[in-house]
């Protein structure tokens, strides 16, 4: 029997599961993450106003550069301070 050697990492992650959607935003804190692309702030300003009018608490964050993944420190801060995240891609 002929064999080939596997060129992959052999560690293909199992399909990532979506977290359960929250039933309501009541009492939740929402992170608004700007990835530092142009006009991301415009989009997040609108969301912040809309969520604010519904009485939902928000916190603003931004990545240092859109070209790189978010630093671990930023990810940990968002995780510890908020319940969910809305990320603005923009352009």
């Amino acid at each position: 029997m002929k064999h080939l050697l596997d060129p992959t990492s052999e560690a293909q992650p199992a399909q990532r599961q979506m977290l359960p959607r929250p039933q309501s935003l009541a009492g939740k804190r929402v992170a608004l993450l700007d990835i530092s692309k142009p006009r991301g702030d415009v989009f997040l300003d609108q969301l912040e106003a809309k969520l604010g009018s519904l009485g939902v608490a928000t916190l603003r964050y931004s990545k240092p550069t859109f070209a790189r993944v978010a630093p671990a420190e930023l990810r940990q801060r968002i995780t510890s301070e908020c319940d969910l995240v809305i990320e603005a891609l923009a352009d």
Binding site: L4, L5, D6, F66, A67, R68
Partner: protein, 481 residues
């Protein structure tokens, strides 16, 4: 496992029928067998040599492999299961001394050279190493069913960039690994986007698939190492909607040793090393890192160099110091530089004979890269052809002098390129008004010499929109054996 039986004292002889010297010494073997303990192994025919009490069958070549036989006949003297001495070929005096038998081979020629052992026939050492379990390979083995086409299997499993790959069989991978002294299990880097640890073995598997020769492996390993450096930002280069991909530029002696092209059609097809080294890096990113178009690779248009883009600088007759020397390496060091770049843009100037004129031509094209109204964005890699280089050489312009003159031509009054100017919404933001601005960031223009001897064409390769500290900077690493 030793091929010499424990406690065996006597002689072990490896022969094959298809060797004139082995046939010549048949009487010698008969003499030896009559007076001492002898184990005679035949590589091709257990009926040869005739007239012995026993001949052991080594057509599987296991004993030959384990005893590391390169020439037949080989005679080994063993004492209590341990090799004491060995000879190969026929040399009457030496055989007599080794066997302590002064009458051995009387009447035979004093000397006859041996033949190559069957165990070192081309391709066999790797097969034998695999067969007898001495490899250190740890990659998962994928079974190819008897009626399955191995090329189609590679496509079906998603291993291919769209072109056929060389099936990565164990023996091919072992031959590839012979191209480096590094251990198969050594980790070269962590490959984005999955951040998977990548061993020398995994690089070798992908290099086989790309079509590399073993001699290219050190260059591929250096390229993978460079792509894993944080400042190169391979994750972003892959994930961007822009055109960028890792472009591999090779400097130093290894480029000549492995036959890389730095001359005619240097950025094109046709040279195995150029074509397959760049492809091997991309296959590592695809297969080990998991970076695929439509997945994390989000390029809007991409460009043909994303199959692989690799070339060597034409150093031998360059008037200027090479890219690697500019970047702090010595000319006799072999290096790999990665530049996150896109497509090739032509500069045709057949009239300039003065360096000032040619510099202005090159600058005019460079100013238009990406967008003529956007400055301080992507880096660029300028490829100066030999005929354009001649203009600078004849005027005795050093690379530094050219850089200085070019930099002056690449500065613009920012008021001319503000957003909205010239009826074009794109442009520099209002805050850039009232000053001068350079097309490239400091250190953002790389310059190499390459191409065929005829043609007053040079080329610029566009960098990534996110160049510099916020994205990718070019990186250079030395090539290890």
């Amino acid at each position: 496992m030793s091929a010499i039986p424990a406690d065996f004292s006597g002689f072990i002889v490896i022969v094959k029928r298809d060797c004139e010297t082995c046939q010549l010494i048949v009487p010698v073997l008969q003499q030896l067998a009559a007076t001492a303990d002898c184990l005679v192994y035949s590589q091709d025919d257990p009926a040869f040599p005739p007239g012995l009490p026993a001949v052991r069958d080594d057509r599987e070549l296991e004993v030959s492999y384990r005893l590391d036989i390169e020439i037949v006949p080989t005679i080994i003297r063993a004492d209590a299961g341990v090799e004491v001495e060995r000879l190969f070929g026929w040399n009457r005096d030496e055989w007599r001394a080794l066997s302590n038998n002064p009458g051995l081979g009387a009447g035979l020629a004093a000397f006859s050279p041996g033949c190559g052992s069957k165990s070192v026939d081309p391709g066999l050492p790797e097969n034998l190493a695999y067969k007898f379990g001495d490899t250190r390979l740890s990659a998962r083995r994928i079974e190819v069913a008897p009626l399955q086409d191995e090329h189609e299997l590679a496509f079906e499993r998603g291993w291919s960039d769209g072109l056929p790959v060389v099936p990565p069989t164990e023996d091919r991978v072992l031959r590839m690994l012979a191209g480096t002294t590094r251990a198969p299990e050594e980790i070269v880097g962590v490959i984005p986007p999955d951040f998977a640890s990548c061993s020398v073995e995994k690089v070798a598997i992908n290099a086989v698939m790309a079509g590399c020769k073993p001699a290219y492996l050190p260059v591929v390993l250096a390229a993978v190492e460079a792509a894993c450096l944080d400042e190169f930002c391979m994750h972003g280069v892959l994930a961007t909607t822009y055109f960028a991909a890792p472009i591999v530029i090779v400097n130093g002696p290894i480029a000549r040793e492995i036959g890389m092209n730095s001359a005619h059609n240097v950025l094109g097809q046709g040279n195995r090393a150029n074509a397959t080294i760049g492809r091997a890096l991309q296959l590592v990113i695809r297969n080990v890192g998991g970076g695929k178009p439509g997945g994390v690779d989000r390029a809007t248009l991409g460009q043909p160099g994303k199959i692989g883009f690799c070339f060597a600088e034409r150093e031998q007759d360059s008037y200027w110091e090479s890219l690697s020397v500019e970047r702090g390496f010595s000319p006799d060091q072999s290096t790999v530089t990665l530049f996150a770049g896109g497509g090739v843009h032509a500069v045709g100037d057949q009239k300039s004979r003065e360096p000032e004129s040619l510099t202005r031509s090159l600058a005019a094209m460079l100013r238009g890269l990406h967008h003529s109204k956007l400055y301080g964005g992507p880096d660029a890699l300028l490829v100066i052809s030999p005929e354009h280089m001649r203009v600078f050489r004849e005027a005795r312009w050093s690379k530094a002098r050219f850089r200085e003159a070019l930099a002056q031509e690449l500065v613009i009054d920012s008021g001319r390129i503000l957003a909205g100017k010239g009826g074009i919404a794109e442009g520099m933001p209002e805050r850039a008004a009232g000053g001068h601005i350079s097309k490239f960031r400091e250190g953002g223009l790389q310059i190499v010499h390459a191409g065929g001897g005829a043609g007053m064409w040079s080329a610029a390769i566009l960098g990534w929109a996110a160049s510099g500290a916020k994205g990718s900077v070019p990186v250079t690493v030395s090539v290890k054996s």
